[in-house]
Chain length 442, copies 4
C-alpha cells in the first residue's frame, strides 16, 4: 500500500520538482525574514500587531519592556534599569499610597459589602499590575517562538487571512478602548451631576457648584489633607484613570492574545481543510503534525505565562458583576444615574462574555482539522495520519485560569448559572436593607 | 489476512454480480429522483414532511420563503420581495408597536418581577421571529443537502421505516398544536370568568357583562386610546394568538427537526445492526463511513443554523417555568383558574421535556452502531472498521444551545436540578409578599 | 511476529490437546445444564438466588409472574390470568382507594409541605407497583439470557466465588428486611406512645387508652366512615405495611440486581487477572472479548428494564430525606420520638448510600481487566487484545436512572452536595415557622 | 522499517557494549541496595524521608508501628503488642473520655450550630486516629513496594533531583508544624486575654487573674469535677494539643505523600523528556512502560490505603472553614481576637489549598511524557510507543477521596464555588442572630 503511494508520487516527480523549487524560494524568504529585521516589518506578525498595546501598557506602568518599539522581537525584553521599570515603580508607589489611605479610612468607618468596593478596585489593580510586570519578565521567552511560528504561517502553503492580524487587533482594541472611555466619562458625568444637584438644592442662595467640593467628595476626602492645586488634581484624576485602564487592559489583553492564537489555529485548519479529497503524501502529514506540535507548544507557553492573569480577570469580573447586580433594584434619582448604571453593567457583562468567546475560539479552531482527517481514504491512512488524528483528539487546547477552569463556552454557561445563584443569594442577604432613596439633603 | 478476505469475496462473485445489478437499479432510481421533481414527491423526504409547517410559519410571518409549497427543495428559498417577507415585516411592525406600548406602560407604573412578564413575552416573541427570519435566509443551504441525504436513505440497502416521517411529524405537530390551542382557550376562559365574576359581584343591578370592558382589561387599556371596532378587536386577538403561536412554534420546530434527524441516524444504525455476524466487505464499511460523515455534516449544518434558536428556546422555557412556579402557592379564586394554572404549567414542563428528549434521541441513535462494530471478527477488522469505530466514538453528535450546553438527557437532569435551586430562591425572595387573595371589589 | 506466536502455540500442542479434552467436558456439562432443569438447580445462578424475593414481591402484588418457584427460568413469565396478577389488581384497587381518600382529605384541609407527605408516599407506592408490573412483563426476556451467562460463568475457566450469590443475596435481603421491620415497628411504637401519653395527660379519670381512638388517628379518620371491626383493622395495618414494603423493596431489588451483576463482572475480571504474565493465545482473548460483549449486552438489558425504577428510587429517596431533614431542628416530646426520627433518617441515608455503592461496584469491576491488558507483552499485543482494551476503555458500564444520571460514586457525591443545598434552602423557607412544641392538650 | 532500526542499532553496537557495562554496574548497585540495609540508608528513599513523621505520629498514638526507626522498610510493620499500640489505646481512651463528657454537656445544654464544634473536633479526631491505625496495619504492604520503586528511580538512567526528597519533606513538614504551633499558641493567647480582661474589668479590687478559673473555663468545667493539680492540667493541655496535632497531621501527611509520589512521576517524566529527538530502541520504551505500570500500581496502592483519609480530610476542612466563615461578620472585642481569627482562617484555607495543589501535581506530572511521545518520528513509532501513549492517555493517575472526587485543580475550583454557596446560605440562616458584642460582665 505504501509502495503504491510511492509509485504514484514517483510518477508525479516532474510536478514535484517545480513544487520543490517553489518551496525552496519560500524557505529562502523565510530565512531572510528570520535574519533580516526590516523585511520582518513587512509581515503581519503578532509582534507587530501587539506592539502599540505594549507601548500603551508601558506608559501606564504595566509592561516595563526595553525597546518596545523595535521591529525585532528579540530586542523587546525586560530590563531592570529602564524607563518602563521606573514608570512601574512610580505607579505602584502612588497606587499603594492611595490603597493604604482608602484601607485606613475603611477600617475607621467600619466595613460593609458596599464601601469595600473601592479598596478591592485599587488593590486588585495593584495585583494586576504586578502580574503584568511578571509577564513582562517572561515576554521575550514568549514572543520569540511566537514570531518563529508567525514566520512559518505567513508564507505558503499557508493561505493569507482575509483581514490582517494587525487590523483585527486594532479594531478590537480601539472599540474596547472607546467603550471604556465612554464608561469612564459617564461615571464622572453621573457623579458630578449628583453632586451639583445636591449642592444646588440643599444650599440656598448658591448658583455655582464649587469644583473643589466635588473633588474632595470624589477622591475620598483627599483634599482635606493635601493642598488643593493643579498637580494634585491631576494626580487624582490620573490615578483613577490609570486604575480603570489597568482593569480594562487586562481583559483587552486576554482578548488580543486569544485573537492572535485563534488566527494561527484557524490558518492551520484552513490549510488542512484545503487538503480534503486530495492525495497527500506522508511527508506533508508529517510536516503538518510537526507544525501542530509547534502550535501546541506555543499554546503551552502562552498558558504558562497568562493563566494567572486569566484567573485574576475572571474573579475580578465576577466580583464586580455581582457587586453591580446587587444594586439592580435600588432606586436612583436622575436619568443619568440610570444611564451610567446600565451602561456600565452591560459593558461589564459584554466584556466578560467577549473574553470567554474569544478564548473559546482557540479551542474550536483547534478541532477543525478532524473533519478532513476522517475523510482521508483508507489507502492513505498511514501511521502519520493516525497519530495526527490522535493528537488533535486527545489534547485539550485552550486558555485556562491557572488550570482551575478552562475558557470554553460550556464553562462560560456554568459560570453564568453560578452567577445567577450568587446574585439570588446576595439579593436575599440584601433584602432587609431599605432600597428607597435617602433624603437628598442631610 | 486481507488476501483471504479477497478470495472469499471472489468465490461469491456470482452472487455479487446480481447484487450489483440491483444496486445499479437503485442508483438509477436515485438519479431519477434527484433530477425529476415529481418522482421526488413520492418519497418520504424531510422536505415534504416539514412543508406544511413552513406554510403555517409563513402565514404568521416567521419563515418568509418563496415557493414554500414547491416539490423541489431547491426552489424554496428566501426572497426579499415576496408575500412572506411582507407578512414578516407587517408582523414585526405590529408586534413592535405593541411591545413599545407595553414597555411605556411598565416604566410609568414601576417594574416588578410580575408585571414584567408581558414585556418579556412580547419582546422574546420579536427576537424569536427575527431568528426564524435569519433561519429562513439559510434554509435552502440546509434543506438541499438534507434532501440529498434523504434520497440516499430512502432506497435500499436502507430499510424503510415502520412509520413515514411525514406521519410522525403530522402526529407530533397536531398534538402539540391542539394542546397549545387548548391552553390558549383556557387562558381566555379563565380571564373572562374572572372579569365577569368580579363585574357581577361588585356592580349592583347589572346582569350582562360588557365585552368592551373585558377587552380593555385584557389588552392592557388598548381601547382607551383606540376606537372600539371590529378591526381593532381582531388585531388584538390576532396579535395575542400570533405571539402564543410563535412561542410554541419554536419548541415544536426544534422537536420536528430532531425527529427528522433522529430518524436518519436510526435508519443508519438499523442498517449497521443488520450487518451483525455477517461477512461485510471493506467497500461496504467505506460506504457506511462515508454516509456517516454525510450525516455528521448534515448535523453540523443544522447545528450552525439552529443553535441560536435552541438557546433561545431553553432560556425562554426556563424563564416562564420559573415565573409560573413563583405563583404556585398563591391562592386562586375559582376552579377554572386552578385548571388553567396547572394545565399551563404542566404543558410548559412537558414541552420543555419533549424538546430535550427528542433532541437527545439523535445522540443516542448515533451511538447504536458501536455494538455491531465490537462484534466484527478480527479477521475482518480492517482499517476501515477501525476508523469507523473511532469516528463514532470520538465525535459528539447532537443539538446544542450555541454550544453553551448540549441537549442530552444528562444536561436535562442538571437543568432541572438548577431549576429547583432557582425556584427555592425565588420562593424565598417572594416569601415576604402576602399570597392571600386580594379583595374582589376595590 | 504473529508467526512466532503460532509456532510457539504449535509446540505446546500436546498440552493443548489435554486442555481441549477438559474444555469439551466443561462444554458438555454446560449443555446438560442448559437442557436439564434439575441439574440447573445445583448451580448458583442469579435466578435461583433472586427467586425467594420474586415470591415475596408476588405476595405483595408487585411481580405477577407465573411459576415463580420453577427451576427453569424460561417458565417464569408474566401471565395475565394468574394469582400474581389478581394480587396486583386487588392491591392497586385497595391502594388507589386509600390514595384517593387521602387526596380528598388533603384538598379539603389545605395543602402544605408537611401534610402532603402521606399522599406522596401512597401515590409513589402505586407508581412503583406499576413499574414493577411492567418489569414483570419483561422479566423472562431478562432472566433467560442472564441464566445463559450464569451457566457460562459458573464453569471453569471461571473461578467459583468465595461466597455463593445465593448466600450474598440472602444476607443482604435479610439484613435490609430486618432493618425495615425495625423501622416499621418503631414507627408504631413512637406514634402509639405519643397518642397514649396525650390521652392519659389530657383526659382526667382515664387509665386505659382506647385502641379505637388510636386506630382512627393513625389511619387518617378511616373509622369515622367505616365500621370498626377486625377486617378493617387488618386492612389498615396491611395496607400501611404493604406500602412500606414496596417502598423498601424497590431499593432492595436494585441492590440485589447490582450485586448479581457486579459478581459476574468481578468473576470476569478475576479470570482476566489470572492471565497476567502468562502466554495467552488469540483464541482465548477472542473468547474473553465475546464474553465481555455478552456481559455488556446483559447490562444493556438490565438497564433497559430497570432504569425507570432506578430513577424513581433516587427521586423518592431524595424527597423523603429532604422531608426528614426539614424537621431535624424540631423539638420532640419523648425519647422514643427521637429514637424513631434518628433511626429512620439514618436508615434512609444508609439505604440510599448502599444503592449507590452497590451499583457503582458494577462500573468499578468492569474496569479491572485494564490492568492486565496493559501488561500484555508487545509480542502478544494482537488486534484482539487491542480491540478488547478499546472496548473496556470506551464503553460505560453501569446502572443509570433513565440515562439522566449514572450510579457512580462521583454522581453520589454530587447528589449529596445538592442535597445539602436543598436542605439549607428548605431550612430557610421553614425558618419562619415556630419549631417549639405545641401544647399537648388542645 | 523495523529492520532498518535494527541495523542502526547494530552499527552502534560498540557504544551499546559500554552502555551495557554501565547498566550492569547499576543493576549490581541496585541489588546491593535491595539486599543490604545499610547501603539503603545512603539513598534518598521515601521511607527514609517519612520516617521522622512516623515517629512523631507514634508518639501521639496515631501510627502504632514496630521498629519505626529501622533502616529496613520491611521491619516497619504493625504489631499488636508494642509501645505504639499502647500509646494508641491510651490516647483513644483519654480522648473517648473527653468526647463523652463534652457530648453529655452538649445534650444537657441544648444543641446549636456553634456549641457543636467542640464535639465535632474531638470525635473527628478519634475517627482520624482510627483511620491512621488502619493505615498503620497496611503500612508495610505499602512501603515495601514503594521502596522497591525508589531503588529503581534513584539510579541512572533516572536523573537525581535537584533537592532530595528528605529535604523537601523536612522543609514542608517543619513549615506546616511551625504554622500549626503558632496557631495553637495564638489560640491560648486570645482566649487567655479575653478571660483576664473580663476578670479584671468585672471584678472590682482584683489585680491578679486566677489561672484556675481560666483553666476551668477553657477545659469546659473540667476542674469542677476533678482535683486541680499538675497532672490534670497537663492532661488537659496535652489532650488539646494532641487533637490539634492529629487534625493538622492528617493534612500534612497527605501533602507529604503527594510530594513523594509527584517526585517519582516527575523523575519519570524527566527521563522521558530527555529522550526527545533521540533514537530510542523498543527495549527502552518497553522498560519505560513497565516502570510506568509500576508507578501506577504504587499509585493504586497508595490510593487504596489513603483514600478514606483524604475524604475525611476534605470533609473536615470544609466543615471547619464553613464554621469559621460563619462568624466572619461577628464583631470581636480585642485586636488579638481579630489576629487569631484571621490567622486561623487563612491558615485553614491555605492548608486546604496546599493539599489540593500538592495532590494535583501528581496528576499533572503523570501527563508530561505525552509531549515527547507525540514527537517520536513515524519510523520509530512502534507498538510499544503506541501502547505507552494509550496508557498515559487513558489512565487517571491521582489521589481521590474514596473515589467520590479526585484531587485535581478543577475539583478544587468546584469545591471552592460550592463553599461560597454554603457560606452565603449559612450567613442567611444566621442573619437573624444578633452579631453585636454581648455585655462584657453578666
Amino acid at each position: 500500500m505504501r509502495q503504491a503511494a510511492r509509485k504514484h508520487s514517483f510518477n508525479n516527480s516532474v510536478q514535484l520538482k517545480s513544487q520543490r523549487r517553489q518551496q525552496r524560494t519560500v524557505i529562502d524568504q523565510k530565512w531572510q525574514c528570520a535574519s533580516n529585521v526590516d523585511s520582518l516589518e513587512q509581515l503581519d506578525t503578532f509582534h507587530r500587531a501587539i506592539r502599540p498595546y505594549l507601548c500603551l501598557a508601558q506608559v501606564f506602568g504595566m509592561m516595563p519592556l526595553a525597546n518596545v518599539l523595535s521591529n525585532d522581537p528579540q530586542l523587546v525584553k525586560f530590563q531592570l534599569r529602564s524607563s518602563g521599570t521606573f514608570f512601574s515603580m512610580l505607579f505602584l508607589l502612588l497606587g499603594g499610597f492611595k490603597t493604604m489611605r482608602l484601607t485606613a479610612k475603611l477600617i475607621e468607618g467600619g466595613i460593609n459589602a458596599k464601601n469595600i468596593v473601592g479598596v478591592v478596585f485599587f488593590s486588585s489593580g495593584m495585583i494586576i499590575c504586578l502580574n503584568f510586570i511578571s509577564l513582562a519578565r517572561g515576554w521575550s521567552r514568549l514572543i520569540v517562538p511566537w514570531n518563529g511560528i508567525d514566520i512559518i504561517m505567513l508564507f505558503p502553503p499557508y493561505a493569507p487571512t482575509k483581514r490582517s492580524l494587525r487590523f483585527k487587533l486594532l479594531i478590537t482594541g480601539c472599540t474596547l478602548g472607546c467603550l471604556t472611555l465612554a464608561e469612564h466619562c459617564l461615571y464622572y458625568a453621573s457623579s458630578y451631576y449628583n453632586y451639583s444637584m445636591q449642592f444646588l438644592n440643599c444650599q440656598a442662595n448658591v448658583t455655582r457648584v464649587p469644583l473643589r467640593g466635588y473633588m474632595n467628595k470624589e477622591f475620598a476626602g483627599f483634599f482635606d489633607n493635601m493642598p488643593y492645586n493643579f498637580i494634585f488634581i491631576f494626580y487624582s484624576f490620573f490615578l483613577n484613570f490609570t486604575f480603570t485602564f489597568i482593569w480594562n487592559f487586562m481583559d483587552t489583553f486576554i482578548i488580543l492574545i486569544s485573537i492572535g492564537l485563534a488566527q494561527r489555529f484557524q490558518q492551520f485548519a484552513t490549510r488542512v481543510l484545503s487538503l480534503a479529497n486530495r492525495h497527500v503524501t506522508d511527508a506533508v502529514w508529517h510536516e503538518l503534525r510537526m507544525h501542530h506540535i509547534l502550535l501546541c507548544e506555543l499554546m503551552d507557553l502562552v498558558e504558562a505565562n497568562m493563566s494567572h492573569i486569566v484567573l485574576l480577570s475572571c474573579l475580578n469580573n465576577i466580583y464586580f458583576i455581582c457587586n453591580k447586580l446587587l444594586t439592580i433594584f435600588t432606586k436612583l434619582r436622575y436619568p443619568i444615574n440610570y444611564a451610567y448604571f446600565w451602561y456600565s453593567l452591560l459593558f461589564l457583562l459584554g466584556r466578560t462574555c467577549t473574553v470567554f468567546m474569544c478564548a473559546s475560539r482557540i479551542h474550536e479552531a483547534s478541532l477543525l482539522p478532524l473533519e478532513v482527517l476522517s475523510m482521508v481514504p483508507s489507502d492513505h491512512w498511514t501511521e502519520e495520519v493516525q497519530r495526527f488524528t490522535h493528537q488533535v483528539n486527545n489534547q485539550f487546547i485552550g486558555l485556562s485560569g491557572s488550570r482551575l477552569f478552562y475558557l470554553t463556552r460550556q464553562s462560560f454557561f456554568g459560570m453564568m448559572a453560578t452567577l445567577v445563584y450568587y446574585e439570588f443569594m446576595l439579593l436575599q442577604l440584601d433584602a432587609k436593607n431599605n432600597n428607597d432613596l435617602p433624603a437628598l439633603c442631610v
